[in-house]
């Protein structure tokens, strides 16, 4: 029978009296064949959310069933590309439509003309199952793409193509399934974006995601395969922090999801990442980055999909044995897309108009992070770092609160720090990481045996300062005894010299773990030596006059990342100058 549009309300379209559609099925809507997804089925109405602008649709236009859910196309050509929320290539779209996005072009995600240098890794007679690699090709200078048997398929190879140049749609091998049918496998597979790709088992997170950002790596670390949230009001630097992480963290691949955010920001990422050179590989950062851009003015339903598309791409590369970090900016916009669609469906709202299923959707998303053993035996991880934009900077709002339940690492950005231009504006009092314990072995073995002790001391100094500042606010700093004043002065060194980090400085933008450790050692050494001197009756003012505090504040700039031996001179100088003070 002919399925047609019965009603239209913004991005929500309904068809009446049909039983042809199934839940979450992808459909084409109208003469222009707009892409939509079935989100509700009753015997009277089928409800469809449309991923494109519905202006111009008419009642009675056809709705076409596809029989499959909304899928991502997975194959070579994903890395360094930029897609919209439903994985349509935006670059190709400009060629077709110019600067503005028009409706109704179902562009294929991947470049079908480019030839890849394919090496087939199996031979006829091999028995393969889900996840096994059957061919590889260099995708970018940094990433070797491995084509894998789809997770739910297994069989015997009956035919392989010779090594050579192939496009993504060429058949590479033929597989005979257990029921006797033969299927050809190209370099592309499809996977429903709302289903997590299967794994062999989850492993515990034991390695940190090294970001080169001091407050994150040492104070509030995140594990590879972990999930973190960055909540912060406008202007606190969420996007800036995510850019820094995307640039410097030691993941193999970055999936950057611009979900309902600014167009100019995506342009900035595009421009900056193609200019920035990764020091480890000497290649532009775009060689390891995938961008998904569904800006705030693009259709809202596709914004909802963009998060799922992003994580599906990440899981696909994880299955090859890579470590992926996802930057989702911002999950609040995604939650608002849920709210908007839910409102159009006239569902019963829960808190602040958000649908009651908000927490379950959030947990589904964050639970797709993890350090895992893949079906093919390799290890890989997906780390999720989600920005949250709380309304009115109020962390008690539903998205922040529910996110907090599903992440183990919370980097709270603070307005007053941002106003004082203290960046990154991560508030050390409100933020936490539950990974510290699990990661302590890594730091102890790979950086320094006393790393965790140093970290604890730095935290203690900050704690002490917070406590003292309550008093100072009431009566001024002058009445404090010298040892407490010392704590405040040292905390200033920690805040300005250690926690503040300059993203625009060539050395300070990324700091290796060893330098972070040595900086902590200098600061704690100043503190201990000064305490000793105070005990011997030296005045605090004399200690401050030695200038070591000021020098320590500037060490992040003065000591280049490749001349860490200079720290010995610093330690020696502290020893001499403070130790040399006499009453």
């Amino acid at each position: 029978m002919n399925n047609t549009i019965y009603s239209i309300n913004g991005p929500v379209v309904k068809a009446a009296d049909t039983k042809d559609f199934s839940m979450l099925e992808m459909v084409y809507v109208g003469e222009k064949r707009l892409i939509g997804e079935v989100i509700g089925v009753t015997d009277k109405f089928t409800t469809i959310q449309v991923y494109e602008d519905t202006a111009g649709l008419k009642i009675g236009e056809p709705i076409e069933s596809t029989g499959s859910p909304v899928c991502a196309n997975l194959g070579p050509g994903i890395i360094s590309n930029i897609f919209d929320g439903i994985e349509r290539p935006l670059r190709d779209m400009t060629k077709l439509n110019g600067a503005f996005i028009a409706e109704g072009n179902a562009l294929f995600s991947l470049d079908t003309e480019k030839k890849y240098d394919v090496t087939v890794t199996v031979k006829a007679g091999d028995k393969l199952s889900g996840g096994d690699v059957y061919c590889t090709c260099p995708e970018t200078a940094l990433i070797t793409h491995k084509c894998m048997i789809p997770p739910n398929v297994s069989g015997e190879v009956v035919e392989t193509a010779p090594n050579g140049q192939y496009t993504v749609n060429d058949t590479i091998i033929k597989l005979k399934l257990t029921d006797g049918t033969e299927i050809p496998l190209t370099m592309v597979q499809k996977w429903a974006i709302k289903r997590a790709r299967p794994i062999a088992k989850r492993l515990s997170a034991k390695r940190p995601l090294i970001t080169g950002q001091r407050i994150i790596d040492t104070i509030i670390p995140i594990a590879k395969g972990g999930a973190a949230a960055i909540p912060g009001g406008f202007g606190t630097g969420k996007t800036m922090t995510q850019h820094q992480l995307a640039k410097w963290c030691d993941a193999d691949i970055i999936v950057y999801i611009g979900c309902g955010e600014r167009g100019n920001e995506m342009t900035q990422v595009l421009e900056e990442f193609s200019e920035l050179i990764d020091p480890k590989s000497n290649r532009p950062l775009t060689d390891r980055t995938v961008l998904i851009a569904n800006t705030s003015n693009m259709p809202v339903a596709a914004r909802e999909a963009s998060i799922y598309t992003g994580i599906t791409l990440a899981e696909y590369y994880r299955d090859m044995g890579y470590h992926i970090a996802i930057m989702a900016d911002s999950t609040s916009r995604w939650a608002e897309a849920l709210r908007e669609i839910s409102g159009r469906l006239e569902e019963m709202p829960a808190e602040e108009g958000f649908p009651a299923y908000l927490p379950s959707r959030l947990s589904e998303f964050y639970e797709r992070a993890g350090y895992v053993e893949n079906l093919n035996g390799t290890e890989g991880s997906v780390t999720i770092i989600g920005a949250v934009s709380p309304q009115g900077s109020d962390f008690s709002e539903p998205v922040t609160q529910n996110t907090k339940r599903f992440v183990r690492c919370f980097w709270a950005l603070d307005k007053s720090l941002a106003y004082a231009r203290h960046y990154p504006a991560i508030d050390w009092n409100q933020s936490y990481s539950e990974y510290v314990e699990e990661l302590s072995d890594f730091y102890t073995e790979n950086v320094s045996p006393d790393f965790m002790t140093l970290r604890q001391e730095i935290s203690n100094i900050l704690q002490e300062e917070t406590k003292l500042m309550e008093i100072v606010k009431l009566i001024g700093a002058d009445v404090l005894p010298d040892d407490q004043k010392l704590a405040i002065e040292t905390a200033r060194v920690v805040r300005v010299g250690f926690l503040q980090q300059n993203a625009y400085h060539k050395d300070d933008t990324y700091v290796p773990l060893e330098k972070q450790m040595l900086m902590m050692r200098v600061i704690t050494s100043i503190y201990h030596k000064s305490l000793d001197a105070l005990k011997n009756g030296v005045m605090l003012s004399d200690i401050l006059a030695t200038g070591v505090f000021e020098k320590a504040i500037k060490m992040k700039y003065d000591i280049p990342n490749d001349k860490l031996s200079m720290f010995d001179d610093y330690l020696k100088e502290i020893d001499e100058k403070i130790g040399g003070l006499t009453v």
Binding site: A55, L90, R91, T94, A99, Q268, S296, G343, G476, D478
Partner: protein
Amino acid sequence: MSLQYVGLKDINGPLVALEGVSGVSFDEIARIRLNDGTERIGRVVELSGDRAVLQVFEGTKGISLENTRTVFSGKPLEIPLAVEMLGRVFNGAGKPIDGLGAVFPEKMGDVNGQPLNPVARKYPRNYIHTGISSIDALMTLIRGQKLPIFSGSGLSHNKLAVQIVKQAKLTGEGSGDFAIVFAAMGVQNDVADYFRRSFEETGASERVCMFLNLSSDPIIERLLTPMCALTAAEYLAFEKNMHILVIMTDMTSYAEALREFSSSKGEIPGRKGYPGYLYSNLASLYERAGVIEGSTGSVTQIPILTMPNDDITHPIPDLTAYITEGQIVFDRDLDQRGVYPGLSVLLSLSRLMKDGIGEGYTRADHAAVSNQLFAAYAKVQDARSLASVIGEEELSDTDRAYLRFGRIFEENFLNQGFDENRTMDETLDLGWDLLCSLPKSELDRIDEKLLEEKYNPERAERFIEEARG
């Protein structure tokens, strides 16, 4: 002759519903002819079976269930576009109201616009000079940026808007043609008059294209006003390669019109009764700023909004600031002390300025000066709160220097005349002068070499004298 539908099914606020229609498309425009010969314009906002819901731009006053004939146009709302729109005044729906007749269109433009493909954007890099020290130095306006002004009732945002229109200019190469599109939504009659008069007096009017929707005009027309203005701006910028500054005031009235419309449509309300799609809706306006590949023009936006009850966490300023690239915030306290423009330096921010200032754009030392001014002024607040507890006499010398800096900074840097147009050099030098009132060791955001070259305590003396006297 196209099909006419006689009569209506229901009328609810600005919305009317028809039944028995067919072949109607979502978002298209209909003409509703009344028996007395007048015509109104409606837009399809919901379709269900053979029922169509229309929003009527001119309001539903005088419409009954039987006195109308409706014709559907088959097209979305389009307005005529031409370079001659500059110097003209239109109503919120794009009809000329200055008595100079219709605009001869070079083309027709769909007011809905289409989202810009992020790949086709160019990252905004050059600045617009406003002649206002606080904005130029601390929250520089970049071409292609959207930088809203958050104000409150009774503050001087309108005056500031006029001063910006009057003084705004481009510098350097590629400054090309510069023009202003002005959209007023729900403003009072005398405010609209004030703008019109000021533009004429200052001689800016021939480079201004105005869209006026007064507070007594229908709310549906108010929803169209920014869309029409931005359509005109995009045309002038991207097809005629001009640099367009769009000023939209007052976004609060716009958002309230949207709430009224949403509630008469019977939609489920979100925060404070605003519809759940307020963010997407505002974004569809604000994101129409930018610079694109293949055109030398730009669209820059300054939306102005009055924060209800001066509350920056109210949904309208909150959602706006999440979309725009920074914000300029008025401070009632400063305004009452007679500082004009009384801008809150610490709450204000321009996200794009870091890439559009410095060598080649403004001046090499711009970033250093603005960072130091921010940092120093932040410390002024600490010193002030401490002084309010323990008294000024008990403060350390450094804290007292900060108090003094705060005073002279507000009086000389923030405060400036309505007719005072400061150059970038004047602004930055003034910043240096004031910073020199602080001890050298406090200027920790400036690198040593630059500080060595510029720091001289004598530079601040005349301001300190003045403050004492």
